[in-house]
């Protein structure tokens, strides 16, 4: 009796069942089905809000905290999905809670609030100064405008006029030389970073723009780029004649600091 070898029984493979085009079609059908399934899942974003409050930057993490040591503070967020910096044409996305620390605020500081010209003596200029410091992290830069509420004014309502410098060469927009002790008035010089070019040296002064007279505030510091700790020193100067009425003369100097748009 002739015996035959035991034949292995094998299941028919997918390769033998489906023609080649069919395999490709089957693959795409599976992929499309899976994608449509995923897209139908509800988005599980954290968006906590009520009628009066909304939680910004809300996210649910495995852990978070602010451990610290003598020299370091650590901000910790554990479990965020895909944090990082993403860029495209015309935009960047800083994804992740810890990017909150990349925020660069706009800041403006002055060294002191009070302007002290002391007791004014005829033909003896009195001066005082203060330092302005600006940090602007925006790429567009910044500007600082300045104006006075009104000219230096006594309680009796008598003014010390704003200076026009020697030879009447200055106003609120243009600086001029003011060195003569017989030139009277109130004005300022500025030196340091990001100042207007008409302040050639410390003998050049302008008057402040007079808000009461409707004059527009003038730029005294500006830069079109990112700056950190740009500093300038404002020197106030007042000089009076012998006919100036006695009294204490005061005004407010307002600095308006804004980033560029």
């Amino acid at each position: 009796m002739k015996t035959t070898k035991e034949q292995k029984t094998t299941r028919p493979s997918i390769n033998s069942i489906l023609p080649r085009r069919g395999k490709l079609l089957w693959f795409w059908l599976l992929t499309a089905g899976w994608l449509s399934l995923i897209s139908s899942w509800p988005l599980l974003a954290v968006n906590m809000k009520s009628e009066n409050y909304r939680i910004q930057w809300g996210n649910i993490n495995l852990g978070s905290g602010q451990p610290s040591s003598t020299n370091y503070n650590l901000g910790l967020t554990l479990g965020q999905i895909a944090p990082g910096l993403y860029t495209g044409t015309g935009f960047k996305v800083r994804a992740g809670f810890q990017y909150i620390h990349s925020i660069i605020p706009f800041s403006f500081q002055i060294s002191k609030l009070a302007i002290d010209l002391g007791t004014l003596t005829p033909q003896t200029p009195a001066t005082d100064n203060q330092t302005l410091t600006v940090s602007a992290g925006g790429a567009g830069g910044y500007q600082v405008l300045a104006f006075e509420a009104h000219p230096l004014r006594s309680e009796a309502g008598v003014d010390i006029s704003d200076t026009t410098c020697d030879n009447g060469s200055c106003d609120e927009t243009t600086a001029g030389v003011w060195t003569q002790t017989t030139t009277y008035g109130f004005g300022f010089n500025i030196s340091g970073d990001d100042i207007p070019s008409d302040f050639v040296d410390n003998t050049y002064f302008r008057q402040f723009a007079d808000q009461e007279a409707g004059e527009s505030a003038q730029i005294i510091m500006s830069n079109s780029g990112v700056v950190k700790q740009a500093q300038a020193t404002v020197t106030f100067k007042a000089n009076i004649s012998a006919t100036q009425a006695a009294g204490n003369y005061r005004t407010n100097i307002v600095y308006l600091a804004v980033p560029s748009y």
Binding site: Y72, F106, Q109, D116, G118, V254, S260, Y261
Partner: protein, 317 residues
């Protein structure tokens, strides 16, 4: 999905010295595109950096662009009743136009809600979120005065019912300076002024391409995408590795160059393009070459004596 650890190291910040006074505000700029009748909320952080309590007032004032370098001019410094229809603070204790105290070395969040009325006409509206220091009566007995700080953050609002508000631009100036560079390593500066002739602000997205002899690309300068507000123009700078820098070019190769600027307002389909040209012909190397050639040419020849002429004969006998 693996665990992701987010870390940041924050070095301890030294406290501001008590003798300085200052304010800090974030964000620096807010850009909004919104439909009439809809609302948007933005939280601002205000920080008193000085060692003294400050009394402040928050207002919103309109501004207009001034100049071509992103400067602005507030139209007023006082809160207008019409402006209050669009803006309000949702803080429970602080309202626009009302004074509040910010303690020394502390911070305050101000939540600004922007709601253009449903009848608001489409267009751009530019405002400044302004924090003003109140005057205090601590005057000196002699003459002088008080300095007051005001700090602001621009808000650019486009009110539109369309998802693609119209952006229109024109190139008002594009030139190379100098047009003829005669000095060695003298960079060519490009001045590009873009004007907004449409109703909405935009950013120019594009670049300047430098072509040698008008054909071979030598360099590409990426334009800095600064905002150009409606009815204004702006001098546009460049970027290198995301850092602002002037638009300038220099090359070792002398000759004729073309510079072509091409950009799209906010990446919209229609692009604008203008070309200018310039020459790099540094004179120093040419003068140097001429000098060297001249020295070679006029070098003294060795002395040759004509013995016959001077009456000397060699005695060959």
């Amino acid at each position: 999905m693996g665990l992701v650890l987010g870390l940041s190291l924050r070095f301890s910040l030294s406290r501001v010295e008590a003798q300085t006074w200052g304010l800090s505000l974030w964000p620096l700029l807010l850009e909004v595109t919104i439909q009439p009748g809809k609302s948007l909320t933005q939280a601002y952080w205000l920080i008193n950096q000085g060692g003294r309590d400050l009394y402040l007032t928050a207002v919103v004032v309109p501004f207009r662009p001034e100049g071509d370098q992103g400067q602005l001019r507030p139209l007023t410094l006082e809160l207008d009743p019409e402006v209050k229809k669009l803006f309000r603070l949702t803080n429970s204790q602080i309202q626009l136009g009302q004074s509040f105290k910010l303690a020394a070395n502390s911070r305050q969040q101000l939540v600004l809600k922007i709601t253009p009325p449903a009848t608001q006409p489409e267009g751009d509206y530019y405002y400044l979120f302004l924090i003003k220091q109140a005057e205090e009566g601590e005057f000196l007995p002699a003459s002088g005065g008080q300095s007051l700080i005001q700090i602001g953050s621009p808000i650019l609002i486009t009110v539109t019912r369309s998802a693609q508000p119209l952006k229109q631009a024109a190139i008002s100036q594009f030139r190379a300076q100098p047009r003829w560079a005669k000095r060695w390593q003298q960079p060519i500066q490009f001045q590009l002024r873009v004007k907004n002739i449409g109703p909405h602000f935009f950013k120019p997205e594009g670049e300047i391409t430098i072509l040698y002899w008008g054909r071979w690309p030598k360099a590409t300068l990426t334009l800095r995408p600064d905002n150009i507000l409606a009815d204004s123009q702006r001098l546009i700078g460049c970027l290198k590795e995301d850092r602002p820098q002037p638009c300038q070019f220099w090359s070792w190769w002398p000759g004729y160059y073309q510079a072509r600027v091409e950009f799209r307002p906010d990446g919209q389909a229609e692009s604008l393009q203008v070309t200018t040209d310039f020459f790099l012909l540094p004179l120093e190397p040419f003068l140097g070459l001429i000098l060297i050639l001249g020295l070679i040419k006029i070098r003294p020849r060795p002395l040759k004596l004509n013995l016959t002429k001077i009456g000397l004969k060699l005695n060959n006998n």
